[in-house]
Amino acid sequence: MITDPSSGEVQALVGGKDARFRGFNRALDAARPIGSLLKPAVYLTALAEPARYTLITPLDDGPFVWKSRGAPDWEPQNYDKKFHGRVPLRVALAQSYNAATARLGTEIGVERVLDTVKKLGVERELSPFASTLLGAAEMSPLEVAQMYQTIAAGGFRSPLRAIREVTTQEGRPLQRYPLKVEQAFPPEPMVLITAAMQGVVREGTAQGLKGFLAPEIGAAGKTGTTDEQRDAWFAGFTGDRLAVVWLGYDDNRAARLSGASAALPVWGDIMAALLPLPLELPPAEGIEQVWIDPQNNLRGDSQCAGAVQLPFAQGSAPQDRSPCVSVAGAVADTVDTTVKKAKSWWERIFGR
C-alpha cells in the first residue's frame, strides 16, 4: 500500500499477483502478525515521557523473563540469538532488539502501549499481554498503513481514504469524503520517534535501503519479521510518501523471508522509482538539537570523535560536557548557532 502521508489518500494498493482479482484482497483483508512493526509504538510511548526516556537512555538488552500467572514464562530471544547488554534507546529500536523492547514495554506498561496504538489509529483490540509488545498481534497492511500514517504526519491522524466524492453522471456531488485530521500526539515525541526510525534506516536493520535511496532522503521506517519467518514486513516513509510492504504465504508456512531481506528491497525498488522528497520534520518548539558524545552520553560538540546530533525535548538533554569538548570545538559550535539564529531572523523579517 502506498499513501500520501499528509492527506491519508491511498495512492496504490496491490493485494496479490493478479491485480484484477475481485475476491480476497490481501492488502485490505489479510490480518497477519506484525512482529517488530509494533515496536515504534512502544518507543513512542516511552519518548512521550522525556523525564524518563530520551534517545540516549541506556536500556538493558539482557535476558528477560516475564512471568504471568497461569501462563508459561515468556523469554523473548533476539533475532541474532545474542543479548547485547546496555544499549542506547535509539540503538535498541534501530537494531530491533527484542529483549530490550520487552523490558522497556513492561516497565512502561502494556496498557499504555496499547493506548498509543489506539491513538495511532488502530481500531482493532489487541490482547493486553506482554507478547503483544513484540507484535503477537494481527493486522492487515491497511491497518499498519493507518498506524504509520499518524507517525508520518507528525502526530496528525487522518483516516485513510480512497474516494474523494461520489457524483452523478453530470458531476453533481452526491457524497463527499473530505480530508479530516486530528492531532493525536503533541509534536515533540513525534520528532523523537521519527529521528529514531530514521536511525533504523541509517544504522539499523533497514540499512539495505542504501542501495535504493540516497541518504539525503532521510527515509524513516521499521522492518518486521515474525516467528519462523512466516511474514516479512517493511513500513516506511519519506517526505511525500508512506508505503507498507508485506510478503508471506496464505497457508502461513515458514517462508524463510525476513523484513530486511524480502520486504525491504520491494519497498526500496518502488520508492526509488517514485523520486521521493526528503523527509524534513517541521521544527517543534519544544525540541533542541544537541551534540552527544556516545562514549559517555554527555554533551559533546561537532568536533568530538563519533559525536552525533540528536533531538531532545527541552530540558531532557544531558547538561554536563564531555571531556572531548575542546575550546575550538565549542567556539565553532557557538558561531554556527549564532549564524543559524541570524539566518532565521533574516528569513522571518524578509521572507524566504
Binding site: E9, F156, P187, P282, F350, G351
Partner: protein, 126 residues
C-alpha cells in the same frame, strides 16, 4: 553585525571603500511570505470567492486540491480551518489550525491567527 547579515542574505553586495564607491545592488523587496505556486494561488482565490458566497463545500474542495500540490503550506491549512469554522465543524477547525501551526515556523502573524481560530472553535463547543 548588519554587514554580516547582509552577506548571509546574499541579497546585497558590500559597497567598496575608496574614492569611487561601486554601485550597491538593491535588496529584493521584502515579501510578506513565500510566493505560492500559480495553481495553488488560483485555487486559494477560488476558495476565497466560494467561501465568501457561502459555497463552503466547494471552497473546501479547492483547498484540498491545493493541499495535494503543497501539503506543507500553512496558509492552505489555515484557510481550510476557517472554512470548517464557517461550517460549524469546530473539531476540524481546531485540528486544521493546529496542523497549520506545525508548518508555520516563526511566522508570528500566522500563528496568532491560528490561535484565534482555535480559541473561537473551543468557545463555540462549550
Amino acid at each position: 553585525m548588519i554587514l554580516l547579515l547582509l552577506n548571509l542574505g546574499g541579497c546585497a553586495s558590500v559597497p567598496e571603500q575608496g574614492p569611487a564607491p561601486a554601485p550597491v545592488e538593491p535588496a529584493p523587496p521584502p515579501s510578506v511570505g513565500p510566493r505560492e505556486n500559480i495553481a495553488v494561488a488560483g485555487l486559494m482565490e477560488s476558495a476565497r470567492t466560494d467561501a465568501g458566497a457561502g459555497r463552503l463545500p466547494a471552497a473546501a474542495a479547492s483547498l484540498e486540491r491545493a493541499l495535494r500540490i503543497e501539503p506543507r503550506n500553512p496558509r492552505l491549512w489555515q484557510q481550510l480551518a476557517r472554512v470548517r469554522l464557517q461550517q460549524a465543524d469546530y473539531a476540524q477547525a481546531e485540528s486544521l489550525a493546529a496542523r497549520s501551526n506545525s508548518f508555520a515556523g516563526g511566522d508570528a502573524a500566522l500563528r496568532a491567527e491560528n490561535q484565534r481560530i482555535i480559541d473561537e472553535a473551543r468557545a463555540a463547543r462549550r
